[in-house]
Subunit: 494 residues, 2 copies
């Protein structure tokens, strides 16, 4: 039995694993390993365990299952890229995207309507995502009254196959049920793939933290990954469309293994993916937009995301350099100052002069204070700059996938522009053309709602991270002042 490798997987050394690369064909040698693992052999004849979710055993997947419907929804533009797992006609462009977050919050000017979807993953309703007109900012998503959230915590090393295979399992607890569920990184990755497939054309889905780095069982790495998974989940929870989707609800609150397996299978067979998602979006009571207006909105947002991308990258570059200085030369210098004071103190002690002790004690204490400051300086970036960097890193990822999302809309506009020719050539009916225009309008409202979602989240996030950064900076400088004040008090000139 052959299998196709879907994602890169790097074997953990000494763990009986086999490294595989995306696109590689491998031979299944033992499908009955269990615990999510399969034994396989690569073309070089090497044998080892690979995660079953990373490969596609031949004749299991059928990427064209949902192909029929999408062609009815809008005409396929020629030469445009087709989404990998979505065969519908619109350019999905949805590979490896971030997204935007929590809505304009408790802004009273904006209609707040709980959208009519089930919060139970196993009720199969045809969900409709509504876009409203807000007096203040324009089209916005309908936000739920209750802000979903979750806590990712308590990473535990588990093992399967009688200790042969190790993995890390995180506890995910949604605020709705307060009942924890366990997920491994590969489950998060599965969720990401489903969200990208389903919503990627309308909503930029942010990448998960890096799939694989060396030493994935090291505490430092586990902590960092957990923190980033938490950040990713928080963003997903804050998004009214994502958070209310069946697949996301499944992930947060499945009842048992059986429930999870069934839900997974169902999600993988979901046909409302790619641009089909626009068929589930309803601009409630909003007039159709004209093409020029739609284009202008796209261009404005494109300009903004590009400018912000530059600003964010600039801040990251500077932050990185500052980090290096704070953890490298600067504490080294404070340490040298500290050592120089202590050295002078011990020279003074050797003078043989009476009444030297008060000065030498004070000098030693001052020297030690500067050594403490050196350590504080070196440890500070983890306490403040880290969060500033993480937030900007998230935004860098998010901004990086906006051009693709906007691209989907641009392609739709181009298609509508060609519609007159297609009607004349008899390839589509005038009624098809009207439908296409209407749908381009829906896509534009959806993009605008997404932009507003992005902006309101951005304002919240940057306020929060700047508060956190400055608060820690204040504490840092206050603590240094305190330490130096104490060192100062030990010197005396009578």
């Amino acid at each position: 039995v052959y299998a196709q490798v879907l994602y890169d997987f790097a074997a953990e050394p000494g763990n009986n694993e086999l490294s595989i690369r995306e696109g590689e064909t491998i031979t299944i040698t033992n499908q009955n390993i269990g615990g999510g693992w399969i034994e396989a052999k690569n073309s070089r004849g090497e044998v080892g365990l690979v995660p079953e979710d990373y490969i596609e055993v031949s004749n299991v997947f059928d990427n064209n299952a949902s192909g029929g419907f999408s062609n009815n929804w809008a005409a396929q533009p020629e030469g445009t890229e087709t989404g990998k797992t979505s065969s519908n006609a619109w350019p999905s462009g949805g590979h490896g995207h971030p997204q935007a977050y929590q809505g304009p919050g408790n802004n009273s000017n904006k209609p707040m309507v709980l959208i009519t979807i089930s919060f139970l993953y196993d009720v199969d309703v045809y969900t409709v995502y509504t876009v409203f007109q807000s007096g203040e900012v324009g089209p916005v998503w309908a936000y739920p009254d209750y802000q979903l959230d979750c806590v990712v915590a308590d990473p535990k090393k588990g093992s399967k196959l009688y200790g042969l295979k190790s993995y890390i399992e995180y506890q995910v607890t949604p605020t709705t049920t307060n009942k924890p569920v366990n997920h491994r990184y590969k489950h998060f990755d599965w969720l990401y793939e489903r969200l990208l497939e389903k919503f990627g054309s309308a909503i930029p889905i942010p990448c998960l933290p890096d799939k694989q780095v060396a030493g994935r069982f090291e505490d430092e790495f586990i902590k960092m990954r957990m923190e980033r998974l938490q950040g990713w989940m928080t963003r997903m929870c804050r998004h009214p469309v994502i958070s209310s989707s069946e697949v996301f609800q499944l992930f947060l609150s499945y009842k048992d293994e059986k429930d999870w397996k069934m839900g997974k299978r169902k999600a993988e067979k979901d046909e409302t993916v790619g641009v089909m998602v626009f068929s589930t979006i309803e601009p409630e009571g909003l007039p159709d937009l004209d093409l020029i207006e739609v284009e202008q909105k796209c261009d404005q947002f494109n300009r903004f995301t590009r400018a912000m991308d530059d600003g964010v990258k600039d801040l990251l570059t500077i932050g990185n350099e500052h980090w290096k200085r704070c953890t490298g030369p600067l504490p080294k210098e404070y340490q040298r100052i500290g050592k120089a004071f202590q050295n002078l103190s011990s020279v003074f002690t050797s003078s043989g002069y009476e009444g030297e002790a008060a000065l030498t004690d004070a000098l030693t204490a001052a020297g030690k204070t500067y050594e403490e400051i050196a350590q504080m300086v070196a440890e500070q970036p983890k306490k403040d700059l880290h969060f500033l960097m993480e937030t900007n890193n998230e935004y860098k990822g998010l901004l990086g996938c906006f051009p693709d999302t906007v691209g989907v809309h641009k392609a739709a506009i181009e298609k509508v522009k060609e519609a007159d020719k297609l009607v004349a050539a008899g390839k589509i009916t005038p009624s098809d053309k009207t439908t296409m225009s209407k749908r381009a309008s829906t896509m534009s409202y959806s993009l605008q709602a997404e932009m507003n979602h992005f902006h309101s989240n951005r304002i919240y996030d940057y306020n929060r991270v700047m508060q956190q950064y400055l608060e820690q900076q204040v504490k840092f400088y206050e603590m240094i002042a305190d330490k130096l004040r104490h060192a100062h008090s030990q010197f005396t000139t009578m």
Copy 2:
């Protein structure tokens, strides 16, 4: 008329001056210029003004005037260096030295006796400097009850020769008379030369601040020179032997020009110079030391000054690097952080999203705060590190001349060791030998008093400079914390 150049003098460009070098012979072309200037011609035929104190007109000085007496006081060791302006037999080694300062202060364990000298410069008494035994620290100078001090201030640009010549005059006000006198740098230099000549064998006389740098009329330079002249004068005032000397009193409190000129002439003819100064030192009630003890004291002090010299130089190197970082890369980085925040703020302003103003204002303010911090960081070294560096620089100079001073004593010890041979050879009498031993003992007491003077001043100076440094450091970090606290208060997450 020919003249010998005593010191280098660099002409101020466009000021009608002539550059001259030590050792050069020049021709006086006009001795009646006045204002301390003489017109002269060098060997290349160039004519210009030179300061009269920088040259020695032939047949005016007689370096050997005090030669006779010194040979009676102690036998001249062969092959030892002879002081330039002191023809006596002992190695003076006194070129370009710093010194040590204020005595053990109001320490009640130590006899405090006002030494019997006149505080009026024009009374010609044979001054005796007394060394006492302090129970705590050993031999100490007798310190006056009243601590002399002075203020060097108010540098004024003066001119002579109807504006042809410019110079800077400093106001020197002693705390005794509270009556200011004016002195130009060249007068300080004259005082330095007299003190070096008279006391250099017993007391390390610290160098004056650098004689000449480019742009000597620039405000920055004048301020720095004044500060250093103040430091030098404070050290001289604190020294019980120096401060009570006639020449020093003349400098601080001459009545008028005539008085000053007469006093100068008298000081230049003083015969109690070089090792002759030891004849004016009286170890009161102290037993003669044996040679071994004298040698041990010398060696101990040598070791200490060498170790402290290393420590001080180390601190200076580190301080210099820290200075560079604080005025170069560090503020540049804070400035870039500030600019990055402000840049992000202006990108956000361009979003077109309503309700952005609070965040963008706060971000701009935070950015400006970091720019202010950048400036504070760059200006801080002048407020704290500067004084730490200046003090250590002074001590570096001071420590650098101790080996020479100790050398004078070592040479005397060697001579006494040879005395038996000289007696056997009939070159000196047994009574001469006894006198030599007694005088070596006096020199040792004098050195020990000087060491103790150095130590007590060192303890005072380092306590003071560390207090000052740490106080400014505390203020600096507190001010940063204040600024950041204010910046923090402008962000809001509801």
